[in-house]
């Protein structure tokens, strides 16, 4: 299979995945979830943190409200604080009246300069696996019953779990795409080895994200105007050919 025929085929496969599972859609959905939860609870902030692949860190992927910019992208040890306990125990919890004690969630408080008075946090669970934690900070104290809000927050967590699962499935499909690309590329080339390697390592967090982005690019490419498509394919083909030539010009090779 020639490189451009292969890429065209990949683009068709990627397109068949549909825009519904395209990662930017997931991010928008999660942002909207955080924003909706924040408003519903009359809260100062709402954030979603997902566990890293080795389960040792919580990565704040989405936030709304006070400190949102500072908290987004933050990585926290999963063995600390209220959010840590929620993911470890799988139990939701509401803590109020923390008496402005910054030790309560020290890292977040330091990074955002915002120390909450109260937290309602619930686990994001899919098929028995805890994926992360959804936290609502300083909900409207006039709202009745933290217990009712705990149950309500769980509904948002279920939606977040579905969105995250969908995005991860998309990442796995991207891995399959790369696998197909590597097996279709001429065997024994460095390019084939590199692609196979990329497909194999796709389960690691950052790689998976890149794969997802790559698959999304394929999908966008397949929806572009014919001229733009041809140009993009030419560029990709030439880049691949260049990389392949460079790769084979190793010492002794």
């Amino acid at each position: 299979m020639t490189a451009d025929a292969l890429l065209a085929e990949l683009a068709r496969v990627a397109d068949a995945l549909g825009p519904a599972v395209e990662p930017p859609g997931t991010e928008r959905l999660l942002s909207s979830l955080a924003e909706t939860a924040r408003r519903l609870f009359g809260a100062r902030a709402c954030s979603l943190a997902l566990l890293s692949d080795d389960g040792s860190e919580l990565v704040y992927t989405t936030a709304s409200g006070q400190g949102a910019d500072a908290v987004t992208g933050m990585r926290m040890p999963a063995g600390r604080g209220v959010a840590g306990w929620v993911v470890q125990s799988g139990q939701p919890v509401a803590v109020s009246d923390v008496r402005a004690d910054p030790r309560f969630a020290p890292d977040v408080a330091e990074a955002t300069g915002y120390v909450p008075q109260s937290i309602v946090a619930a686990p994001v669970v899919s098929e028995g696996d805890v994926l992360g934690v959804l936290s609502v900070l300083d909900r409207d104290a006039a709202r009745p019953g933290a217990d009712a809000d705990l149950l309500l927050l769980q509904v948002f967590c279920d939606q977040a779990a579905i969105a995250v699962e969908g995005a991860r499935a998309f990442g796995r499909v991207a891995q399959v795409l790369l696998g197909a690309l590597s097996s279709a590329a001429d065997a024994d080339t460095d390019l084939a080895a590199a692609l196979a390697g990329a497909a194999r390592s796709g389960s690691a967090g950052r790689d998976e994200r890149q794969l997802r982005d790559l698959a999304a690019l394929f999908a966008r490419l397949s929806r572009a105007e014919p001229d733009a498509q041809r140009l993009a394919l030419d560029v990709v083909t030439d880049v691949l050919a260049y990389v392949e030539r460079r790769g084979s010009r190793r010492p002794g090779g």
Partner: protein, 253 residues
């Protein structure tokens, strides 16, 4: 010695009881023994997952990583001031091997001589159904009462959904004897768990809500009961708890 329902009331069960002589284990995030609302902790062990050896190993760090185990211990101490508290830490820095660590810690607690064990955590992993079913039976036959917080997360929850354990959700009661029984299991009992003031890290106190704070109320009541009536089996304990519930129908009514 069989217990007749007639004559079983709060007076018979708890009057004058302090929990003296009863060993109570808290399987959670550890206990901060320095907290004035917790008092003496008779023993502390911790288990963790060794990523390299891929097995459960003892962990030598002391204390409470999250505050939650300390909170549970504080509730138990308040209800049963003279019981002997034992800490079994199974929550640590990451989620790898969580089910195995949890099972190891629970087995340790059952074998340690504790008569009642507080579990404010559970697992939803179906792989662990058999393991925890077996452990729940072991505990029941060994005369050890497992008190489990009910999970708010939909789906399976082990061991809290098993009939051999005492499962507890939060009610809006405020006193230690504000116990309700639920005629529709698997949630069997309700105990105070809404806006409860509990000890937390570094000598602080917080106001919390969650089923995980209701369970230690019942754990404390069981410690009281066993200090007065040490020969009761777990199923007899459960029958007494039903009989002393606020919504129980008195004999002959």
């Amino acid at each position: 010695m069989p217990v007749h329902a007639r004559g079983i009331d709060g007076e018979w069960a708890f009057a004058g009881a302090t929990g003296v002589g009863v060993d109570v284990a808290v399987v959670d995030s550890g206990i901060d023994a320095a907290h004035p609302q917790v008092g003496a902790v008779a023993s502390s062990v911790a288990f963790a997952w060794d990523r390299e050896r891929r097995e459960v190993v003892p962990d030598d760090r002391a204390g409470d990583l999250f505050g939650h185990g300390t909170a549970c211990a504080g509730v138990i101490r308040r209800v049963a001031p003279q019981c002997r508290l034992h800490s079994v830490r199974v929550l640590g820095e990451h989620l790898l091997g969580k089910g195995e660590v949890f099972a190891t810690g629970l087995r340790h607690a059952i074998a340690s001589g504790a008569r009642v064990i507080n579990l404010s955590l559970s697992t939803g992993k179906t792989d662990f159904f058999g393991t925890f079913h077996e452990i729940a039976d072991e505990a029941a036959f060994a005369g050890v009462v497992l008190v489990c917080a009910v999970s708010n997360v939909p789906g399976p929850s082990y061991p809290s959904q098993f009939s051999a354990v005492v499962s507890v959700a939060a009610n809006d009661g405020t006193g230690p004897f504000d116990l309700d029984c639920n005629p529709e299991p698997p949630v069997e009992f309700g105990a105070p768990g809404i806006d409860v003031t509990v000890p937390w890290l570094d000598g602080s106190t917080v106001v919390t809500t969650g089923n995980s704070f209701a369970a230690p109320h019942v754990t404390g009541l069981v410690a009281l009961l066993l200090s007065k009536h040490p020969h009761l089996t777990p199923y007899e304990v459960k029958a007494v708890l039903r009989a002393v519930s606020r919504n129980a129908v008195p004999p002959g009514a």
